[in-house]
C-alpha cells in the first residue's frame, strides 16, 4: 500500500457510491430501453450497452483517484493477490471492506434505479445460467482482468477509464451472457425484475464462472506480462492522489 492514499473510509465511500452508480446505469438504462423500444430486444441491448460504455468510463474517471475505481470484487481480489507478491495493493482487511461496500452499493443502485422509473423493487425472475452463458462469463471476466492489469503492468493505467468502458461495451455483445463479469453487480441485479435483472438461482454459477475467469485472466497476464506483479500498485488508475485528500 502506498502511503499517500486516502483513508480507508473515504475509499469505501467511493467504492460504495461508484458501484451503486454503475448498477444504476446498467439497470436504469435497461428499464428505459425496455419501455421505449418494446419491439426489438437487440435495440434495447444497444441502448443499454451504449449507456454503460459512457457511464462506466466516467465513473472510473471520477472515483479512480480516490479508491482505484474497482467496483468489482474480482478486480479487488486480483489486486490483493498481485500485491502480496510485490508488497503493494490492498491488504486483506481492505479487500474485505471493498467487497462488502461494492455489494451493498450494487444493491442500492438497483433500488434507486427502480425508484427513478417508478418500478417496484422485486426479485428478478430472469434465469440466465446456461452452459453457453457460463462460458461467456469465464471469457468476459478473463478479458477484463487481463485488460486492467496489462494496462497497469505497462504503466498505462491512465487509459483504464475509456478502455474498461469500451471493453464492457464489446463484451455485452460478443459474450452470450452480456458480460456481467462482476460478482457485486451480479448480486445487485437480482433486485430489479426488469431488462437487466438476474434470478437468484443463476447467481452462484455466474459468480463461480467469474472466479474461474479471473483466475484464467491472471494466468494469461503472468504469461504475457511477467512484470505484472510488481505493477499492481497502479491499478486501476495510478493513485494520483491530491495530498490534501490523504
Amino acid at each position: 500500500m502506498t502511503t499517500n492514499q486516502p483513508p480507508l473510509w473515504r475509499r469505501a465511500v467511493a467504492e460504495l457510491l461508484g458501484t451503486s452508480l454503475l448498477v444504476m446505469v446498467v439497470v436504469g438504462s435497461g428499464i428505459a430501453a425496455q419501455q421505449l423500444s418494446p419491439n426489438d430486444v437487440g435495440l434495447q441491448l444497444l441502448q443499454n450497452s451504449t449507456a454503460t460504455v459512457l457511464g462506466l468510463t466516467v465513473l472510473i474517471l471520477v472515483f479512480g483517484p480516490v479508491s482505484g475505481a474497482h467496483f468489482n470484487p474480482v478486480v479487488s481480489l486480483v489486486d490483493w493477490i498481485l500485491g502480496r507478491r510485490s508488497g503493494t495493493g490492498l491488504t486483506l482487511p481492505e479487500l474485505g471492506t471493498y467487497v462488502v461496500v461494492q455489494t451493498l452499493g450494487a444493491i442500492g443502485g438497483s433500488v434507486v434505479a427502480n425508484a427513478m422509473y417508478d418500478v417496484g423493487t422485486s426479485i428478478s425472475s430472469k434465469d440466465r445460467a446456461t452452459g453457453g452463458h457460463l462460458l461467456g462469463e469465464v471469457v468476459a471476466t478473463a478479458g477484463l482482468i487481463l485488460l486492467i492489469f496489462a494496462l497497469a503492468a505497462t504503466k498505462r493505467g491512465v487509459l483504464a477509464a475509456p478502455a474498461v468502458g469500451a471493453y464492457i461495451g464489446a463484451a455485452y455483445w460478443f459474450t452470450s451472457s452480456t458480460s456481467f463479469a462482476n460478482p457485486a453487480v451480479t448480486v445487485g441485479r437480482i433486485f430489479s425484475d426488469t431488462f437487466a435483472g438476474i434470478a437468484p438461482g443463476s447467481v452462484p454459477s455466474f459468480v463461480i464462472a467469474q472466479l474461474i475467469g479471473a483466475a484464467a485472466g491472471l494466468g494469461l497476464l503472468l504469461v504475457l506480462f511477467p512484470s505484472a506483479a510488481r505493477a499492481a500498485d497502479d491499478v486501476v488508475l495510478p493513485h494520483q492522489v491530491d495530498k490534501a485528500n490523504s
Copy 2:
C-alpha cells in the same frame, strides 16, 4: 479570478453562443429523430443522445478556453460557491451575467432549431414532472457537479469535454427524466413543442430538483475530494487563455 481571463463581455458571448448551440443540438436532433424514426421512441432517444454526446463535447472544447464552457447556471453557481472559499472563481456579478446569458442563449437555441426544421416556435405541452423524474433530475445533477469539480480538483480539467459529453449521454438513459440537469436548458426547451420540449408547468419542480442535486453533488465532492475548494479556478477547462485574448 485569475488575471489573464478574457474580459467579461467576451466570456458572456461565449456562454450565450455555447448554450444556444447546446440547445440547438438537443432540440434540433430531437426534431430530426421524431420525424425520421416515428415508430420507435427508444431509437429517437438513441439518436438524440448520440448527437448530444458528440455536440456537447465539441462545444466545451471550443468555448472552454474563453468562458470555462459552463452553459449551465448550477455549474456557475457551484463555481462561485467554491470560489468564495478559495478567493477564485466567478464573482457574484459575473455569476449573474453568466446565468442571464445562458438562459437567453438557451431560448435562442430553441428558436433557431425550430426555424431550421420549419417548425413554428410554440410552447411545449409535454408534462414531465413526476416523482420518478424529479428523483432522476436530483441524481443527474448531483453526478454532473461531482464529475466536473472532481476533474478540476484532480487537475484533469482537460478531460472535461469528452467526460461531460459521455456523462450526459449515459444520463439520458439511466435517469428516468432523460437528464436535463441544467436550469437554463430546461427553460430553453419550453420553446419547442417537439421531442425535447418541456411544458412550463413542469419547469419549477425540475429546477428545484436540479438545485437539490447540485447541493448533493457539492456535498459528495467535499467528502471525496476535500481539496476541491482550492481547485475551483480550473473549472471547467483550465483557462489556457491565449494572452492576446485578455
Copy 3:
C-alpha cells in the same frame, strides 16, 4: 507558408485522396444503410452518421501531417484569408490547387462508392434546397469553421481529428440539412442517386449558404479568439512533417 511543408504535388495528392475517401465514406455508408434498413430513415441516418464520425476522424489523422487535411474548399479559403493577415497559410495558387483537387476527389469518391455497391453512377434527383435546409447549412458551416480555427488559435490542433469527426456527427442530426458544410463534397454527392445524393439544382444555393456560414464562422472566431489570425499556420493539424517528406 512554413518552409518544412511537403511539396505542393504531394499535398495535392493527399487532398485528392482524402476528399475522395471522405465522400466514399458518406456515399458508401448511405447506400449500405438504405439497402440494409429500408424501413426506417432515422436508422439509416444513424448508420450513415456513425460511419462518417469514425471515417472522417481517421482521414484527418492520416492526411493531416501531409496537407493539413482540409478536404473542404471553405476551410482552405479561410486558411488563406487568415494567412494573408499573418503571412502564413496557403498562397492563392495553392488555394486554387486545393479547391480543384478536393472537387475532383469528391466526384471520384462517389464513382468508386457506386462501383463498390454495383450501383450505376447517375445524377441525384434529391432536391434539398428549402429555407430551413439553407439555414442549416449556414449554421453547420459557421460551427465547423469556428471549431477548426478555434482549436488552431489555442494550440490544440492535435484534437482536430476527433473533434471535427464528432462535430459533423452531431451536425448530421441537429441541422435540418444533415450538414453538408463543404462545397466539394456537395458537388461530389451530385454523382450518386442514392441516400446521400443531392440534385444539381440544389447545389448553388447550398454552396452560397456554406460561404455565408464560413463568413459568419470567421467573424465569430475573430470576436472570440482575436489571436486567431496569427495561428492559422497550425490548421488543421500542426504540420509535424517528417523532414524526409519535404
Copy 4:
C-alpha cells in the same frame, strides 16, 4: 528487430490470443445481433460494427506492447517488407510464425464464439465474392495499411488502437464487403454459419483482393510518406516493452 522485444514464443501467444479474441468479437456479436434483432439487417450490422470498434481498440491496447498487435497477415507482411529496407521489423521466420498463429487463433475464435452461443461449429454457406465486394476489399485493405503505417511513419503509433478500431467501424459501412481486410480473420470466419460467416469458395478471391489492397496501400504510403520505410519498427504500437518481459 529491436533488441528489447519479448521472445518470439510470447509474441506468438499474443498474436494467437489477440486474433482469436478479435474473431470472437466479430462472430459473437454477429450471432447476438442476428438473434436479438431478427427484423433489420442494418441494425444487426450496427450492433456488430459497434462491438468491433470497441473490441478491436481494446485488443490492440492490450497486446500491442507484446507483439505489435498485428492480428492480420497483411499487416505482418508489410511490416516485413518495410523492415527489409530499414533493417528492422519482422524477420522472415517471424513473419511465418505470425501468419500461422494468427490463422489458428482466428479459427479458434470462431469455435469459441459458437460455443458461447450454443451454436454448432459448421462451415458457412454465405457466398460473398461479387465484383463490388472484391473492390470493397481492395479499398478497405489499402486504407488499413495506409493508416497503420502512416501513424508509424509520423511517430503516432500510440494512436493506433483507437484509430484502427474507428477505421474498421467506418469500413464495415462504407465498403460493400463489410471490410474483412484480413486473410486470417477471413479464414476464421469460414467456421461459423452465422451472420459474420463466409463460404469457403469466397475466401480465395477475398484474400487475393486483400493482397492487392495491401500493395496499393503500401504504394500510397511511400508516395505520401517517403520516410515510412525507416519507421516500420514502430508498428503497430511502439514496443514500449517493460524490460522484465524481454
